[in-house]
Subunit: 124 residues, 2 copies
């Protein structure tokens, strides 16, 4: 299909600052109703990602700092990439969200398996 | 399309017993790599659902019992329902998983937006 990541992605991405606590991440997820937070460095670049699953892991292992649970090596996608490529990347890595980044590692959007699944509910 | 819920659902569903703690839910999600746990009563019937998002909420609000965070009114789907109906139900309720139940409220499978998204990565 000719649907691109830019057609489906969330544009107002909720993020968290590098160096925050697990409790802060939990509070943001609760108030914003989101399960994935890109972690942003002081210069405004993508530094990692933390999800509700990571917060849950912190409960099991009694961790309190974001550093201890965030994933640094983030799988991302480009604005112009076809939606099938995003779905494939999420499936291959067993993840449910991909930050969309520009040429300077800045987060310009987020695509989730929820967003891709919604396409199926309207197109077939 | 003629893809049914039964064609795509997870059959080995990881669940949790009613009356468990938040920490127990977190431990199961970590070791099993899942983010959604149907809560099962002593008679083996669906009593609720708890997700990594709920565990994250428990961190923000300092809750420790499953009772305090689980959702009792569960949105479910039938084995023979078309996949589009599952995608629509998840989208309308802003949820990422639906337990598949039989006529006696027993959980026989689980369909997730990840599973639906995977269809897009292979079929289009
Ligand atoms: C393996 S997934 C399983 C649970 C669920 N599918 C999810 O995405 O949260 C959980 C792990 O994937 C990581 N993760 C989520 N999105 C990611 C992404 N775009 N790039 C790298 N890691 C990611 C999280 O930090 C977490 O440690
Ligand atoms: C509104 S969703 C938002 C986060 C994410 N999309 C998810 O599904 O976890 C989170 C809430 O939905 C609830 N939930 C998840 N799956 C559900 C289902 N099949 N039926 C009813 N509630 C569900 C969870 O218990 C949690 O309180």
């Amino acid at each position: 299909s000719r649907t691109s990541v830019g057609d489906v992605m969330i544009r107002d991405v909720v993020t968290i600052r590098h160096g925050s606590s697990v409790e802060e991440a939990a509070r943001i997820m609760m108030t914003e109703g989101v399960t994935h937070l890109p972690v942003i460095s002081e210069e405004g670049r993508l530094a990692g990602i933390v999800t509700a699953w990571d917060v849950s892991k912190a409960v099991a292992l009694k961790y309190s700092q974001l550093e201890e649970i965030m994933t640094r090596d983030v799988v991302t996608i480009g604005l112009g990439d076809p939606i099938e490529r995003a779905a494939k990347k999420m499936n291959e890595n067993n993840i449910s969200a991909l930050p969309v980044i520009d040429g300077e590692q800045k987060v310009i959007g987020m695509i989730t398996s929820d967003g891709v699944s919604r396409l199926v509910s309207v197109c077939r």
